[in-house]
């Protein structure tokens, strides 16, 4: 009897584990190193983290009737008392970076050896990630920028770290994590070809200066492409090059649907970019929002996270913002939820695919957060009370967003005036 159990039955707790599809699993095989244990339906580890797996092994296990499971990330709220990376380690990485970058600025090009240096430093950090970091750990970025020069290095390191930890928490193979962290690390490399006076200028740039500054995306792509040109046998992942080229692409959904595409503000273009590049834009913004520089006071993580949520559908798509916040908000906010009970939020719903190129219409409603499920700030229980599309009250209804895939929080109301208005509406009898 006991032997038989588990052949078809699933004994593993599905609220804690999720099954991975065969095709996804196959993508993990080959040279790649698993960063994660893979379990069978009886919660036995069948592939250990740190090992690589072959297609044959997968096929053989499947034949035995084994199904493959990995722990659900969002279900687990970990321990947020410890730092994922020590500040000393990050500081030393920033200093190494400073040395390499100084060289690149002087020559205007990057050698393959220099590229490998950055690569090596990132991989070194990556090897320090522990499997428990997937569930917890505080990610503190470097925050004290003592001088202008230092800013670009620190920013590069910070975005690299954000990208690394994002990918570590959401994907299962070391290759992708490595590539995305390097993409983050090198995203602003093109700034080394922009005149120093402009890059380090305190305060706002003029229109002309801004135009020159924005060239750093194209210059970054060129620097990386040149590395390949001078060492033809070497290949730099497209993702790293695209990260440099497209990290300032914006989304912008509202406006006229048929309006001619505008450079930098096209939804179609945005979605053609790889997910990693789109998330990189959010990591970039998060670091910019939270860094204190000699000319600007940085925001607290909570403020920055709420700000990022409030750029959904404008700078970034709702789904990307949610991906980022789901993976990183707890680590960045020292384990605390960045939304709270009592907050007023705006919810977007619809957009469900109902046929070829057909979606249900998008609508908006106001709601109040009733209960936050610890560690899942984006899927609380809410009370919907106002239809923002039709501009009228609707009968109140409580919804558990954990089981409503079509409602997504797109704004949290911050201004005292809007909050007062909504409180009044909420209190009024139907």
């Amino acid at each position: 009897m006991e032997d038989f159990a588990g052949k078809n039955e699933i004994a593993i707790d599905l609220s804690r584990y999720e099954e991975i599809s065969h095709s996804f699993f196959e993508k993990l095989s080959g040279e790649k190193i698993l960063t994660f244990n893979i379990y069978d339906q009886n919660e036995n580890i069948i592939f250990h983290a740190g090992k690589s797996i072959t297609k044959e092994e997968i096929a053989e296990k499947s034949k035995q009737g084994i199904r493959f499971f990995i722990p659900r990330i969002s279900e687990k709220v970990g321990n947020y008392d410890y730092e994922i990376f020590s500040q000393d380690r990050i500081k030393s990485l920033a200093e190494n970076t400073a040395a390499t970058y100084a060289n690149v600025r002087q020559t205007g090009t990057m050698t393959y050896e220099q590229y490998l240096n950055t690569h090596r430093d990132m991989v070194e950090l990556l090897s320090n990630l522990k499997s428990e970091d997937r569930y917890g750990g505080v990610l503190s970025l470097l925050k004290d920028i003592s001088n202008f020069d230092y800013y670009t290095y620190v920013h590069s390191v910070n975005v690299g770290l954000l990208a690394m930890v994002y990918q570590y928490k959401t994907s299962y193979n070391a290759d992708r994590i490595r590539t995305m962290s390097i993409a983050g690390y090198l995203h602003d490399i093109g700034k080394l070809r922009i005149p120093k006076e402009i890059v380090d200028k305190p305060g706002p740039l003029s229109k002309e200066e801004m135009k020159i500054m924005l060239e750093h995306t194209r210059e970054g792509y060129r620097i990386l492409a040149d590395v390949e040109k001078y060492s033809p046998q070497k290949k730099i992942s497209d993702l790293i090059k695209y990260g440099a080229l497209f990290h300032h692409r914006k989304f912008v959904i509202y406006g006229y649907p048929n309006r001619k595409e505008r450079d930098g503000a096209s939804r179609e273009f945005y979605f053609k970019l790889p997910e990693e590049v789109r998330i990189l834009g959010i990591c970039d913004m998060y670091d910019a929002l939270t860094t204190t520089t000699p000319w600007r006071q940085g925001n607290e993580p909570r403020t920055a996270l709420r700000y990022i949520l409030n750029t959904s559908n404008y700078y970034f798509s709702v789904s990307d913002v949610h991906l980022f916040l789901k993976a990183l908000s707890l680590s960045l906010n020292r384990g605390r939820d960045f939304l709270e009970e009592g907050n007023f939020v705006m919810i977007e719903s619809g957009g469900r695919i109902v046929g070829k190129d057909q979606r249900t219409p998008i609508s908006y409603e106001f709601a109040r957060i009733i209960e936050i499920f610890r560690g899942r700030p984006l899927t609380p229980r809410v009370e919907v009370f106002y239809d923002a599309t039709l501009n009228r009250k609707k009968s109140r209804i409580q919804i558990d967003l954990r089981s409503d895939n079509f409602r997504k929080i797109v704004r949290v109301i911050e201004s005292p005036r809007m909050n007062a208005m909504l409180r009044k509406l909420y209190m009024e009898k139907n």
Partner: protein, 120 residues
């Protein structure tokens, strides 16, 4: 994007205008964001109108910048836009606008809301 600074407010401003030029000599019109923001520090500002032509919401970010300028915290700020959508509406309010209008407008409604926003 265009920015209008009203030096004083009269009944005339409440009416719906066909073009920006209908605002008279008591106002200053800017096309450049930087020039406009610099001017705000100079005083004699009774109200601000931000006109947003494109789908870009950079205009709403300007409102945020206006509010951060010393002395501009309480000044009436009105955003006029072509985008009819609940999100920019909320974003405008959140960033400190007193009113957000979208075209096409009903003349009476416009006057009524303007009067309220400009505290007349």
């Amino acid at each position: 994007m265009a920015f209008v600074i009203l030096n004083e407010v009269r009944e005339h401003d409440v009416a719906l205008h066909r073009s920006l030029d209908s605002f008279n000599e008591r106002c200053e019109i800017f096309r450049d964001e930087r020039e406009f923001l610099q001017r705000l520090g100079g005083g004699n500002v009774r109200a601000v109108i931000v006109v947003i032509y494109s789908e870009s919401l950079d205009g709403l970010l300007v409102i945020e910048k206006v509010r951060k300028i010393h002395g501009m915290e309480q000044i009436p700020v009105v955003a006029i836009s072509v985008i009819k959508h609940p999100l920019p509406f909320i974003d405008a309010y959140e960033r400190g606008a007193d009113e957000y209008f979208t075209f096409p407008l009903n003349e009476q409604e416009f006057a009524q809301k303007m009067r309220k926003a400009l505290k007349m």
